[in-house]
Symmetry: C2
Subunit: 195 residues, 2 copies
């Protein structure tokens, strides 16, 4: 009813997501906390945790990414480390190809190419939640360099397949792409790097 | 003098570049010819050739790329085919790092991310003038796939180092990048690909 003390859960969740989107845009990924988002949204931190178990989930909701980052990374790490590169490439390609799913990633990439704040946001999220965790688990030395190298190939593949539309990458089967590009990511994640 | 019959050579050259920029933007790379540019600029085709020996040179001038595409590719192909990937990565990184030089590439990438016409332009130029020629010379089978794969890593490296600023790639020495990323490009250009 108008003037009621409490918003419904859907509106509360949306208010949290809106605050999160603004804070991520202004401050990047690392500097934002669920606690600060709760404070600005005027809700208890426990309520934020009720809707979003981790910052990465709230980020995915704010950026409309069709991705549960924790589950995505956990599934990849549960498999054989020798096939991590191939499984990672196949998983991201299948994610991008899900109908309607690439829009959120495209927004992140467009932002990164046009605004340095958005570039920082993409860089911090990719490093902390996806590639950094995979790299550290696969080969703990030089995890940041491994994550960055793997990220460069993944972002480049997204550009080639989904944005610039370079054939045969644009229409290639995900399994072919995994076989062609997976060894690159595997090498970056687990092979010796130059000193 | 006002009303004189002929523009000076500097203004004529600039008029050709302006016409070329508009035609590339509207029609992509492959569909544009030096002859069509001469016609629209109202000059003799021989005059266009006088200023620009090849379409790639005119494209570089129109897009403000600090690059002589023919000379760049020829120098790479003159070296040992087994080190092509490493030499290519080092050459593009040193080109990007030249003061003021990345702006033209950034414009191409920004365009590609925001407009499909600009994406086609980048795709056609990269494929025809740079990567496609390198790939066809290095391993003539599947040259288009090889060029596309190498291009995905090169564009991703540009994103990581110059746009998103992912460390340690953003501040890495060109020689280290060549050692880390060169084998990827080498594999794409010359190793067997999945069927």
């Amino acid at each position: 009813m108008p003037g009621g003390r409490r918003a419904g859960p859907t509106r509360t969740r949306q208010a949290i997501v809106d605050v999160a989107r603004a804070q991520f845009a202004a401050r990047g990924y690392d500097a934002v906390s669920l606690r600060a988002i709760a404070r600005e949204a005027g809700v208890d931190p426990a309520l934020v945790h009720h809707f979003f178990a981790a910052k990465a989930q709230l980020f995915a909701a704010a950026m409309e990414l069709p991705l549960e980052p924790d589950a995505f990374v956990s599934a990849l790490l549960a498999g054989d480390a020798d096939t991590l590169g191939e499984r990672l490439v196949r998983a991201v390609v299948e994610l991008w190809d899900t109908p309607g799913a690439f829009e959120g990633f495209l927004g992140l990439i467009r932002g990164a190419v046009t605004h340095s704040d958005a570039a920082r946001l993409l860089r911090e999220f990719l490093t902390r939640e996806l590639l950094g965790r995979l790299a550290a688990a696969a080969a703990p030395d030089a995890a940041q360099a491994r994550a960055a190298l793997a990220g460069s190939q993944i972002v480049g593949l997204a550009m080639a397949r989904k944005i610039v539309g370079i054939e045969p990458l644009a229409s290639a089967d995900p399994a072919w792409l995994a076989a062609a590009v997976g060894p690159t990511v595997q090498r970056y994640l687990t092979a010796p790097l130059p000193g």
